[in-house]
């Protein structure tokens, strides 16, 4: 077995949902050791939390700046090789740029940033450093999402005509939700979340899933973003029509105020030969439909003979032994760990959203906001970024 990767984490202190998931996911890979962290801006809290995680106390830092400086001064082979960035959106750029500048590869929670300006800063740092950068669009780590992409790429669906993607939740459906948890508070605060709420938080997942599965870029969007619940300063609900580069059309809805929706990410892709259908809450089935043919229900599993090598490679259990969200997340970390090991002979992280995917999602958000402010006019993603 290959050497294990040493990782530091920024953010993800006590009570942080996504930080805990990142740690579980990294742990499952069996390829990554979390050896350092700046879990909290309070040094004592960070140290205490590091101790809970079994870290060497000297490597639980009170700030990412301290961590990067201290770790960079350690001898190679001892210092961290990469950083997991799991802070709120507003600090993705500062943390990621600093990490890259100190020579650490970065794996960052989605979205890339709160707005494209920050995203472009990260893109610059990635380019300058030549280091690896991965964005954890979790859902692309599911075996059957990877299978879906393969089936499209193989031409089984034919030319893509229409896409429908929804990402609906209800955890912000009430006024009192806004400040009810850390997660809700920063997501509802434009100074932390960025220029978009629901669209930025989960609409980017939906966007990324479309691009990942279809292999097509979304080129323009006609959108309507709304703050439905009283007091919200940024969108908590919205919808869009969009165009794919190949001429296909689609609908996207993203909302955190749809009562009864829990984590309802689902996608249908219709080609001129066949269609595919996947729902995140039942991730181990993928349905293929064609005209005048029985529907085919594919299932995940490491021993499932009809799946592609790419999908099989990310299954841990045989068919009928369900894997889930944490394992999908772990698949991203495993790919990242593999890339860290191969670096610099390879400089890409196969199967993980990269800086360009992240930027395109930022363009999507900016274009959706512009469209929404402009009576839902069709707005291209290309050229949306600020002139610098």
């Amino acid at each position: 077995m290959a050497a294990r990767i040493k990782m530091g984490m920024v953010g993800g202190g006590p009570g942080a949902f996504i930080g805990a998931i990142h740690r579980l996911a990294a742990g499952i890979t069996g390829q990554i050791d979390l050896v350092a962290g700046a879990f909290s801006r309070n040094a004592d809290a960070s140290r205490a939390f590091g101790a809970e995680l079994g870290l060497d106390p000297s490597r639980a830092y009170g700030s990412y700046e301290d961590m990067f400086a201290a770790e960079a001064s350690k001898p190679e082979g001892e210092r961290i090789q990469c950083v997991s960035v799991v802070t709120p959106n507003d600090s993705h750029a500062a943390v990621s740029c600093a990490a890259l500048e100190h020579g650490f590869h970065v794996i960052c929670d989605k979205p890339l940033a709160g707005h494209i300006e920050d995203g472009l800063k990260i893109a610059d740092a990635v380019k300058k450093s030549g280091l690896l950068f991965g964005l954890t669009h979790t859902y692309t780590g599911y075996p059957l999402v990877i299978e879906a992409r393969r089936r499209v790429a193989n031409g089984e669906l034919g030319a893509i005509r229409r896409v429908a993607v929804n990402y609906l939740q209800d955890w912000l459906s009430r006024e009192e939700d806004t400040g009810a948890s850390k997660q809700a508070a920063w997501r509802s605060d434009p100074s932390r979340s960025g220029e978009s709420g629901a669209f930025g938080d989960i609409g980017t997942h939906a966007f990324n899933l479309v691009e990942f599965i279809t292999g097509e870029r979304i080129t323009e969007v006609a959108a309507e973003l709304r703050a439905v619940v009283a007091g919200r300063q940024i969108d908590d609900d919205g919808a869009a029509m969009f165009h794919l580069a190949n001429g296909g059309s689609g609908l996207l809805a993203a909302s955190q105020v749809c009562s009864g929706a829990v984590n309802g990410l689902e996608i249908s892709v219709y080609g001129d030969k066949a269609s595919l259908h996947w729902q995140q809450e039942q991730p181990n089935t993928l349905t293929l439909k064609a005209r005048n043919a029985p529907d085919q229900v594919l299932k995940a599993g490491a021993n499932v003979g009809y799946l592609s090598p790419e999908a099989l490679a990310v299954c841990r259990t045989p068919g009928g032994h369900p894997e889930g969200y944490i394992e999908a997340f772990a698949n991203l970390y495993a790919a990242f760990a593999g890339a860290v090991r191969e670096f610099p002979s390879s400089t890409t992280v196969d199967g993980v959203a990269d800086i360009e995917d992240g930027l395109n999602a930022m363009r999507f958000i900016r274009a959706a906001i512009r469209s929404s402010e402009n009576a839902s006019a069709w707005t291209p993603l290309a050229g949306i970024e600020p002139r610098t």
Copy 2:
């Protein structure tokens, strides 16, 4: 048991899908006798077909004009009381107006017409005659669609925030489909179908279902209609964002070129308290979802205690004995037959789309086309009709 209603039919000759369904549906009610018909423009063919149906040969006519004249001259009690219009869209206006002018109530296949101008002619004739007019938007005849409407009206969902409705098929997905059947041929021909293809044919069902269940009018639309398959002169695929009168938003897709979709009509309605979900291909379940509560799956059946009286009234079988499309259709005919019997003490057909519903669907089509031609600009339905 009340007296049976005497009905004539226009259209629905040999090989006509929808005419046969109308006859089955009317028959199931046990309240309607089909006693006359102008099934074909060829008098011999009409007569032969009438004979197959067991009609008195003298009442199988070569034209609707002949039928209306002959029947109107018969004594009351013997002549037809109502007419079922099951011709292609382009003749709905002429046939319906003539029927109404001769004193016959009309039940007409959807959509109201090929365009709003024709629709307004029918509206005039309805108004002048004071007679009954019903439009067979089949899907509103399902018990659980009626239950869905009741649940919204009772406030169980709270204020409606978001609607998603799809009506996707694939039977016109290929170039060679255009002329492959009578049904395909006239639907693809703007001179028969009217100004819209898929949107007119099935988008109007989706539109009507939204208005029926939510009890809200759709007020404006931003749409994109497309002729995807080579050679198509009218839309075979399209999508729209829309607004409800109450401020809710929605997405609608209608397509006849989505591979693998058979008769995929499905709707989700999200309120601030709960949501509901129904799919036509599994019509005997209705799912209600609320935040932090188990999903509830309701089932149709004449002995199901938790259903509303309105839903129970249209169930024939006890729970677990599935009813389907023909029974849903029959529920519309039963309502119509009841109204004919009550006429003129009552002049509405409860639970069946009326002339105003039909006109609004025509406005929707016209607004969607205008929007589509105008870069998907938001286009109000109100005031879309031609000034006369």
Copy 3:
């Protein structure tokens, strides 16, 4: 179109569930006219009900004896040709035998009788008369049940290894249900229902479905029948292991006291090559599964290219337009009407359970009871009938 068949009905008066279904089903075929009936043992009530149904008052009789005598004396072409027997089990034999003796074909509600002794009387009458006899095991009228049978017969499943069939309901789950309705009362009364309750009423459906789909006879059974609810005199719940003639094994459960089960008939058949799965409450899908292959979900519909001619022949609507229980029932009546027309050149009713199927179900009930009384000992069906 072929001549319509004239039918009389025995039983099925006001409030009778199954009689109303038989009439609807016969009506949908478009091939049968109900022209006479002995709907009630009270002549006035029978006449009143006949009037509601639109019958000639002179042909609504106060007893089946009167009906058969009067109808038999009418000239051919005017008199009824067949009789629908929809009385409780205890009179199936008397009514059916009398009908056959008067020269009328019989279509009888299931089960054949309350016990095999009565069943054998009918068998004698069928044999002597040479007339048609059909038993309405409704569920074999569903298109996808017919498809299932075809797939097995074609060898797609290989040799049948294991069958699982359940028919579970809950409408008799409480003590107070016993006398709560006519239907409950006679089914819970051994003098009306026969020697078995749930097993006789719905276990025979399950039994018949196994034999119909697999094409194999059930040869022996190890059963346990129970009266679970206090005060029940006959089984309201039970289960059995069984053997098929080909060596396959199976499990069967039939209960009317399983809370939450509505009309839960479902079957899985496992062969050495593939398996099939069908549920009555979702009758328009049939799932085929094979090892290391995607599940295939077949759908009903008159235009579904991959279905067998036998299945297509009983579909009225195109794919995605659900048909249900009444249509399945109608398919049995249509087959029966066709056979009546062809008689005597053909003397079988294809696709409808015949006297031998009915007798075998009686043998199954008797064997299950014997087994249950004998500590669930394996009990062969063959030879179970009384020596005469």
Copy 4:
């Protein structure tokens, strides 16, 4: 955070499916360090594999005897505290007894042993040592299985009347499967697997699930076990009727030759008030059904307000973020780790099958075999064990 537990493993070398799962599961808990192992009977292979896992080379042993001796001689605080036994069935007794005798708690893969004689040896060793013993019946680690148990215990279902449990697979459906993999080879070999094949391997899971959820012991069984595929020496398919201590009845099928079944464990439990339904392949939903009430679909998730504390305690992710088989497994390990930490102030492992559960499963297997050999006669579990 509490101190981490030091664990050794016996078995689970390269290519072993279940060993890898045990390691992943233990790892996810964040409470267990695998520090020693006897992964193979070949010392070099064991060492090489230990190195892959990152173990100290001196603690990868060539036999469990060596491991127990060496570890027992280490100072407390350094030596292993517990042993995970993941060998084939035939060595469970020897390994577990030795571990217990050396003072190590044991967590053992199911079934307890190949036959009850071996099981009783383990029971003796458990009793003598006073140490912890847990059996990994994985499926009881799923949150919604725990919820199911709570709902029954709370009386929501009322008195249990009927249970249906199936565990069907197809990976041994062909003759050539017998020796096709390590897993298949030992399971098909009575000298390794024990007196039963499919019933022992997966029937015990089904058995345990019934007892776990209902809280009732299975008291007697009428079974038929078969070796369906040519050349099999032990059962690869079988079915049984069974009785619960409370008077309820049930059906159980277990087969590894049912084509199209992947890992099809599913259970329905019917009480006099309500029923519940769970399928392992969709583990994150649990359906509750009651008469004349909408079905309720419960979902797993750490923030799902309607779940019991017991179920919530084993969820890692919020609703809609699926967990799976590995997490269910990890829940057993987490409970075991907690018990090791609490020992000896507590001597039970809450939520994990214990020695008595394991013995009862052995009794079930023995009784099923006896019944099967005795024409499926009802055979009590009590008293089935050999007199000693």
